[in-house]
Point group: D2
Chain length 339, copies 4
Amino acid sequence: MAKVVNIGVIGAGRIGKVHTNTLATLVPGVKVAAISDVVVDAAKALAAECGVEKVTPDYKDILNDKNIDAIVICSSTDTHATLIEEGANAGKHIFCEKPIALEIDRIDSALAAVAKNKVHLMVGFNRRYDPGNAKMRAAVDQGLVGTPEMCVISSRDPAPPPISYIKVSGGLFLDMMIHDFDLSRFLLNDEPEEVYAYGNCQVDPEIGKAGDVDTAMVTIRFKKGAICHINNSRRAVYGYDQRAEVFGSKGMVQTKNLHEDNTILATEPGYYEPPIQNFFMTRYIPAYQEEGKVFARCIVENQTPPSTGIDGRVSVLMGYAAIKSVKENRPVLLSEVDK
Amino acid sequence: MAKVVNIGVIGAGRIGKVHTNTLATLVPGVKVAAISDVVVDAAKALAAECGVEKVTPDYKDILNDKNIDAIVICSSTDTHATLIEEGANAGKHIFCEKPIALEIDRIDSALAAVAKNKVHLMVGFNRRYDPGNAKMRAAVDQGLVGTPEMCVISSRDPAPPPISYIKVSGGLFLDMMIHDFDLSRFLLNDEPEEVYAYGNCQVDPEIGKAGDVDTAMVTIRFKKGAICHINNSRRAVYGYDQRAEVFGSKGMVQTKNLHEDNTILATEPGYYEPPIQNFFMTRYIPAYQEEGKVFARCIVENQTPPSTGIDGRVSVLMGYAAIKSVKENRPVLLSEVDK
Amino acid sequence: MAKVVNIGVIGAGRIGKVHTNTLATLVPGVKVAAISDVVVDAAKALAAECGVEKVTPDYKDILNDKNIDAIVICSSTDTHATLIEEGANAGKHIFCEKPIALEIDRIDSALAAVAKNKVHLMVGFNRRYDPGNAKMRAAVDQGLVGTPEMCVISSRDPAPPPISYIKVSGGLFLDMMIHDFDLSRFLLNDEPEEVYAYGNCQVDPEIGKAGDVDTAMVTIRFKKGAICHINNSRRAVYGYDQRAEVFGSKGMVQTKNLHEDNTILATEPGYYEPPIQNFFMTRYIPAYQEEGKVFARCIVENQTPPSTGIDGRVSVLMGYAAIKSVKENRPVLLSEVDK
Amino acid sequence: MAKVVNIGVIGAGRIGKVHTNTLATLVPGVKVAAISDVVVDAAKALAAECGVEKVTPDYKDILNDKNIDAIVICSSTDTHATLIEEGANAGKHIFCEKPIALEIDRIDSALAAVAKNKVHLMVGFNRRYDPGNAKMRAAVDQGLVGTPEMCVISSRDPAPPPISYIKVSGGLFLDMMIHDFDLSRFLLNDEPEEVYAYGNCQVDPEIGKAGDVDTAMVTIRFKKGAICHINNSRRAVYGYDQRAEVFGSKGMVQTKNLHEDNTILATEPGYYEPPIQNFFMTRYIPAYQEEGKVFARCIVENQTPPSTGIDGRVSVLMGYAAIKSVKENRPVLLSEVDK
């Protein structure tokens, strides 16, 4: 394989732009060689912005391109599994945005194609690559907090997505809390057994009419004994609230929010700090950059990525357990929703 | 009634010392006129320390003393209800440490005696009187966070109590989380409907053998829609961890921990702040002081205390719901455990 | 000497109230036995508030009282030296508010009387007894910051005192920065050699007309090589700003301001913390309490107090050097203003 | 002029690398078209890293290149003035690292060449482009702190530069505090009149032997009345300490240090935060990026840069006043060192 990893990006929407920009400008050793999008103008604009030479409306042009080492799947969720399968069959390494699919069957068939073709699949759980979260996990691994006993994650979006998105996304547990599910497994380095979820609609009744909740709290029981709490809200007016902590027998490690800048203004009414970073793309720039570097390194060095298809699969299972738990108002075992 | 409120303290143990010291030295308009304890030497020592004139082994001497306006019940939990009844029948105003009793029947008969005799009963939920918690509630009342949607409380003791205490205390949900149950009602200004609790034994297996849990997470559904999470641990090696937050449609208000002092040491390995205040009596000195002032003022001005017998009753119900929830691993309605 | 230290307070003004309240309610082993003030009603009111039995318009009644072990001098600055002399001649231990006098001659004669009568004199540099400052000094003593190289002190009052006070106080360098001068010597555990001061009038022109500055910055060269900066303002609208830091070869230790409470409010415009404690009597309650305890202990155990007449003398010298420096716009050696 | 600004970088040393990397990867609308360095291998390596096409040992090749719109001068200080003159005469816009020269005469002749040729000269005071400092200045401009009265800047390097550098750099006041001098003018939006400086050698006696100080404190009097303190140390073991504050009639605005990540570890000895960012290139990445964007914009839109030759000139004058002040141990007027 060439020293430079040639990448084809499939999908030039919001997350496609993030990955293309990051890979093209911030990740050494990587070249974005092609972009495809059925809306070819979107692909063209992005290619121009990032200096990408090849643009196509048809992702198959990317799969058929011998120069392309790896694909980055940023298209809509319903296409992920198919693209993984076709990409794997074409011998490409694959980076796929979460979730792999909304159905466990589809996930499993996609993972089978990956295994059969012996390509690498990395699932885009960007938070694992955030410096703070990585440092927390390192602290846990080093035993700085002793045996982990509790994990508490507060994760709140600045504003809800469009109702149209909620209708196809799988809902809060599969499009939003899925990140926190994965983070809990990552931080505790353990597997979940049972989920209790309570959610309701306090932010916008339209979300309820679309069959989803906008506010939720979850309790997760892990195999080794630790208990985890996650809370989500679709709307935090003060910004993109992203905090986590792991508590154990020897201490606690936690992450603070990041503010827009490092100033403090002190006046008669008190002390004022600027809002926290409001946009996931701002907040997680270093995470996306690290994620890209890790993906490239795994390909070059032929190593298994730190966030694999299994991680993609388990986080979806946790989402299903949570959805079932809300519906039946009882704790649900992961084994109940697995096939 | 005299301008100075004459108080008789019943029980010269740990919490009796806190209240006697606070009332005697930090609360203007109050005089601790008598202390009783069956261990009369404990009462004598405390009386000497705080300049209290009258000491007796028999609390009835206090109830029969015409000069005493009010009693402060600091004896063991199993005596609380009886002392409330006898105190009320003797026409004394009553401050009683939580819980009123471990049985709802006993609570109800004690509250009936209070009602019948038209005395004031204040239950010792000290955290309501903590400046930070009071400020949070004020922020909620002023609408600064909009409609409350979530409440998150982390409450962790520095070290477990003796096993002997755990055996008679009612366990974590009734001796420890009861404070957080009350705090959640106080902060949200709302009533709980359903509780899901998960707890296990991760700190000390002896606690498990005594039939209790030492680590627990609870989800509470409130009437107006807000959801509350509480986590407790019997052991936080880094100190007495006391944090709360209320999240709503217009923002969030939260309390930080208080550190032992205001220094920061920066050296090669990083920045170091001293541990958080480690002992509930240090952490909540201002709360105990305010609590004493409020009790005295309610007596002098004939006002209903902010934490009444009803608050004592509901918090015990929440504890019972949590215990039943752990046992049956399902959410439990408060109506299921109420009589 | 009796186990309880009997204290007579001379002066029932603002600082007299602080000391009487603190000694009477917060310092064990001490009894405020008498208060004198030429405005006898002020003394009476304070005595009633704090349960002090003896009140007199004439401080000589206190000096002549055999039961009084020690006096606390809280009268106006121009009386301090005389009271120290008379108190020492009467065999009383002495706590005196700073400054001892505005003239070095008077300070020296007062200190001579103290030495001759072998009584203890403690000068009221309350900041040495503040937990944060004491911790900083301990860190320096323990070598945690290595060899001290720089000290930076920011000290700003919420609002200027009355012009009438400024006219008799000796001005900013002798009534306000004197605390910071003493703090610099305390934190560095070293003696100053030279002072450069620049001050002007930016807050209120009336202060300038009274011959004083209201804003000042000072550079102090210490014997062992460390350099110290102090800045003062008579008016900080955001509260009583009190910060210090010692920087050395192995690190830095600093003190943060203390806020009114521990809440944080996050809303759309950002994060908001309450103002810092606004009043020196609130900010330094623990310092006054510790100061009283130390004074009592020094008397009971016959030990030299940690802030003595020499400290009172040197801080006044530093003030004179600063005043001369502003006037002549050049660095001034302490030896130039010493006699 | 083309929409894309073609830039030639002169000097491929440490700061040349910073600017080339930033301009090539983080600044849209800019193309680094050429790099020159007498050590041509250094230029080649940097060009390869950043995708720059043209490499030359002779900067004249850049000046003679018609495609080059602007030069970025990153060579050694003694070449700056000559390169500005030659660049200006060649019609290039110029970005020059500070200082322009160590002699006022040379600065003035360079500025004359810039004026004569009507090109833009931007001097590399990167801190003006730091988001926190820019926000502070905006707060001052918006009147959020009222009339500025004091400015306090603490600026400490992690470790001293090589003695060889100190011998040619002009010393601490001209190679290090020059940034803080410029920052004080920027934050206060005012001009300095007089400087008092005290400095000594506490970090490394070799620095003293080289004729420089390693620890210094400066007081600066500004025209409108504000007073400014700056402290510098060549060695802060806890990192690159960069703090500033502006205090005024209505409040204070300040900048905090930035830590390596956003984690907090709480264990038995206390709370621990990671070190502050240790390297100026890490700390000021966003500043360099903004600086590059502003330079490009000024060229494209034909606007005067926010940090001009005058800023470069005055900061050197302040350095000379400080050096003279240390030597003569007295405050020095800027007019004394100006020609």
